[in-house]
């Protein structure tokens, strides 16, 4: 008792606030649902941002509490399921890992909320439906709430609720402009694709939960991790099956091979969504899941190797595709897939600190890059709008149609003059992503490469190549968008975004520059912070060899990129339109570039080997089995006709003949019998007297001869 009091008295205690991390965004979204329709846009946006901001404050208070009480605490809100010995609670696990995610989600989330106030103000007008402004913020708050449930739960079932919740928000926000896109249905299809790809992954998570329930009899983190060595000794395959099934969930949510295909299409959503959900937070849920389940993964080394290889292969594969894209957001999307591959590879090798560190750094600079790309897109839109409505300009510029794509990098160029702030923050984000010293990306990526170098050489080589390509495609993108001459009138007349958008960009840019201090070599601040939650973390010593190799690769890639996209590209711009290649790489790589541009035809491959047979099978099941066999033959012929026949038989033959025959027959027999008896009633007294007499004689005779 005395000890407990002493523990309580150490430092500030805010653990009881934990449920509010979910409740505050929920209150925000309820407020906007109920009153948002009558309030001006500004209020709606700021209420949503405030909800997210307050969640951040709660997260900070939790972090402060953790600073003095490293062990953390589980705050139970309610009991959810209680069947026999099996109990699932709504409980919030406050420890260093979950609070790290909370800080990240609410912190980056708040910046993106604020940015969205400016972005959506224009986006809803460009797309012609200002009413959707409120809906956007409701979805965004719902996402924050679901993500908080995911990261703060103390058991796998509550985590799964959050896991599904963020999937739902992702679906809703990808399809935000559901009537837009290719053929007016493209965005809806993208949303559906994300939903279905995630469902396949969620199936894996569910499977893992079932096996876990079977093997452990509990879904609580604490119980499961405590029992894990015991179960691993008794039935090793249980741990292997759970971790493998989780890996399927990770490939779905964190967009790894083979389920990554939904993430690039998810760019159909508004850009802040791409930044928040599809770059910074939701897609990292898979990395969080593996890190959280570290105790299980550590017991299954084979699965760990698979995870690491999946991550590394995805990192390289997605990086190659990013090289061949022209859509500014598609490049970033494939880059996200690639960077997620880095993180998954890291946690697969047991380098949880490196994985989580890169997760945070990536959230900063990729969030920044997406938001900045949104700023670029809106800038081009503004320029386009300006040109459209200026009669004089319109006459002088030819070939300027309505099918203008504001996201195509071939329509940009030279925008460093028109959008200065956006240019600088974009440059910082790109350098951080490319892993240039001393930006955040350098430190986090270096740590992953170092772990790979020490643990798994194959993964190291794959990741190094991916890092090289990362630097290359980012150089390509920056040069195509911001340097050279404007390649369209819209780019020439682009305008900078308002401060409500640029201020969050600047904050994220600062974080991207200084994010590295979280876990500098020698100090390992972040590693020590996570050590309170995860056991057996190893802090690697800084290796100059690895750092130098990685930096050299990046610099080489930047040089190559500069040579191709600054020198050669500008020379080629002088050529007449017919001879001018759209990308200098196309000349060098030829068909390979076409393959990159077409994403290695993976979508087409999936179409061919999965969707077409699946559609054929569905069609077969629907047309032949369901319609013709079940409906036409079984229901119509067998059941309906059989029933009619049986009814006819029962009604006509059985009811009419047998039942009615029996009833009528009984009546007829009774009538005839009565008719016979009737004759006895002659009415003559003498007959009656005679019968009485005879009866008497009979009775007498009976009594006499008895």
């Amino acid at each position: 008792m005395f000890l407990l009091e002493e523990a309580v008295s150490q430092g500030p205690q805010f653990f009881w606030l934990a449920p509010w991390i979910v409740a505050i965004p929920v209150i925000g979204l309820l407020f906007n649902i109920l009153f948002g329709a009558r309030l001006p846009e500004k209020v709606v946006g700021w209420v949503a941002s405030l909800a997210s901001g307050l969640a951040f404050v709660v997260a900070v208070l939790l972090a402060v509490s953790l600073a003095s009480n490293h062990e953390g605490q589980v705050v139970t809100l309610a009991e959810w399921i209680h069947i026999g010995d099996f109990t699932v609670r709504w409980a919030f696990q406050v420890d260093t890992l979950s609070v790290t995610m909370m800080l990240l989600v609410s912190g980056v989330g708040t910046l993106i909320h604020i940015y969205s106030i400016g972005y959506m103000h224009e986006d809803v007008r460009h797309n012609g439906d200002p009413k959707r402004f409120r809906r956007f913020f409701v979805y965004l708050n719902l996402f924050i709430a679901a993500m908080m449930i995911l990261v703060s739960s103390d058991n796998y079932l509550m985590l799964f609720v959050g896991w599904e919740g963020v999937g739902l928000c992702s679906y809703l926000l990808i399809g935000f402009w559901y009537e837009k896109g290719k053929d007016g249905i493209g965005n809806s299809l993208a949303a559906k694709k994300a939903m279905i790809a995630n469902r396949v992954g969620d199936f894996g998570v569910l499977l893992a939960l079932f096996i876990m329930f079977w093997g452990f009899g509990s879904l609580d983190f604490h119980t499961v991790f405590e029992k894990a060595p015991e179960v691993a000794g008794a039935a090793p395959w249980v741990i292997g099956a759970i971790t493998l099934a989780f890996l399927l969930g990770v490939t779905g949510k964190s967009a790894q091979i083979p389920l990554y295909v939904w993430l690039p299409d998810a760019m159909a959503g508004p850009t802040p969504v791409s930044a928040l959900i599809h770059a910074a937070t939701m897609v990292t849920a898979g990395v969080y899941l593996v890190t959280r389940s570290a105790a299980l993964y550590d017991l299954a080394p084979d699965v760990q190797t698979i995870v690491a290889l999946v991550g590394a292969v995805t990192a390289l594969f997605a990086a190659t595709i990013a090289v061949g894209q022209f859509d500014i957001k598609k490049v970033l999307a494939y880059s996200t897939v690639s960077q997620l591959g880095f993180m998954v590879a890291a946690v697969g090798m047991g380098a949880y600190t490196a994985g989580m560190f890169h997760l945070i750094a990536h959230a900063f600079f990729k969030g920044l890059l997406f938001l900045a790309s949104g700023s670029v897109i809106l800038g081009v839109e503004r320029g386009h709008h300006h040109v459209e409505h200026d009669a004089h300009l319109k006459k002088t510029i030819k070939g300027h149609g309505h099918d203008f794509d504001p996201q195509d990098m071939r329509n940009m160029g030279g925008m460093r003059h028109t959008m200065k702030v956006t240019f600088w923050v974009y440059l910082i984000g790109s350098l951080a992503l490319a892993g240039i010293f001393p930006f955040a990306g350098f430190w986090s990526k270096d740590e992953i490469l170092l772990d790979a170098y020490l643990h798994n050489q194959t993964v190291f080589i794959l990741l190094l190549l991916a890092a090289f390509l990362t630097a290359f495609y980012m150089t390509r993108q920056v040069l195509l968008v911001f340097f050279g001459k404007p390649r369209s009138a819209a780019a020439e007349h682009a305008k900078e975004s308002p401060p409500v958008m640029t201020v969050p960009l600047i904050i994220l840019a600062i974080l991207s520059v200084f994010g590295g201090v979280l876990n500098l070599p020698v100090f390992h601040t972040f590693g020590h912070w996570l050590e309170h939650t995860l056991e057996g973390l190893e802090a690697q010593e800084f290796s100059l060899l690895v750092a130098a190799t990685a930096t050299l690769a990046s610099l080489l890639a930047i040089l190559l990129g500069w040579w191709l996209y600054s020198r050669r590209y500008n020379q080629q711009q002088e050529l007449p339109v017919a001879k001018r290649p759209d990308d200098p790489l196309r000349q060098i790589l030829g068909p390979v570039f076409t393959a990159l541009n077409n994403k290695w035809w993976v979508d087409e491959l999936y179409q061919l080997i999965i969707i077409r047979p699946y559609a054929w099978l569905s069609n077969f099941l629907a047309e032949q089995v369901d319609w013709r066999f079940w409906h036409d033959w079984f229901h119509e012929k067998v059941i309906a006709n059989g029933y009619t026949g049986l009814s006819y038989f029962l009604a006509d033959k059985f009811d009419m003949r047998v039942i009615d025959g029996a009833a009528n027959g009984l009546a007829t027999v009774t009538q005839q019998f009565a008719g016979g008896l009737r004759r006895l009633q002659t009415g003559y007294v003498r007959n009656y007297a005679l019968s009485i007499f005879l009866g008497l004689v009979l009775i007498m005779a009976y009594l006499f001869f008895r």
Binding site: Q681, Y684, R686, F693
Partner: protein
């Protein structure tokens, strides 16, 4: 002293006469008289045994039977008069109102 068998034999003869009378005669009055004959045959048997066994109850039964017979005659004759009023006949073969 006349033995009881003689009384009983007379009683049987009287009863059979009465019964045959009821069955074969058509005149309602005659039938009535035959019924009285049967009743009195029974009375004779009662009295004979009452005397034989020196039991007074047999004699009392006879009184009851006589009383009931008197009442029956009163009702029966009234019925016959009523039937004669409607049918102008007391031939029982013409009276078949109870025919089903």
């Amino acid at each position: 002293m006349v033995p009881v068998e003689y009384y009983l034999g007379l009683s049987i003869v009287l009863f059979v006469m009465g019964a045959v009378g009821v069955l074969i005669r058509r005149n309602a009055i005659i039938i009535f008289m035959s019924i009285e004959l049967m009743l009195n045959a029974a009375n004779l048997a009662f009295v004979a045994y009452a005397y034989e066994y020196q039991q007074i109850s047999g004699q009392i039964f006879v009184f009851f039977v006589m009383a009931v017979a008197a009442a029956e005659v009163a009702v029966g004759l009234a019925l016959i008069v009523a039937i004669f009023h409607t049918k102008q006949s007391i031939d029982v073969d013409e009276i078949n109102l109870l025919k089903g």
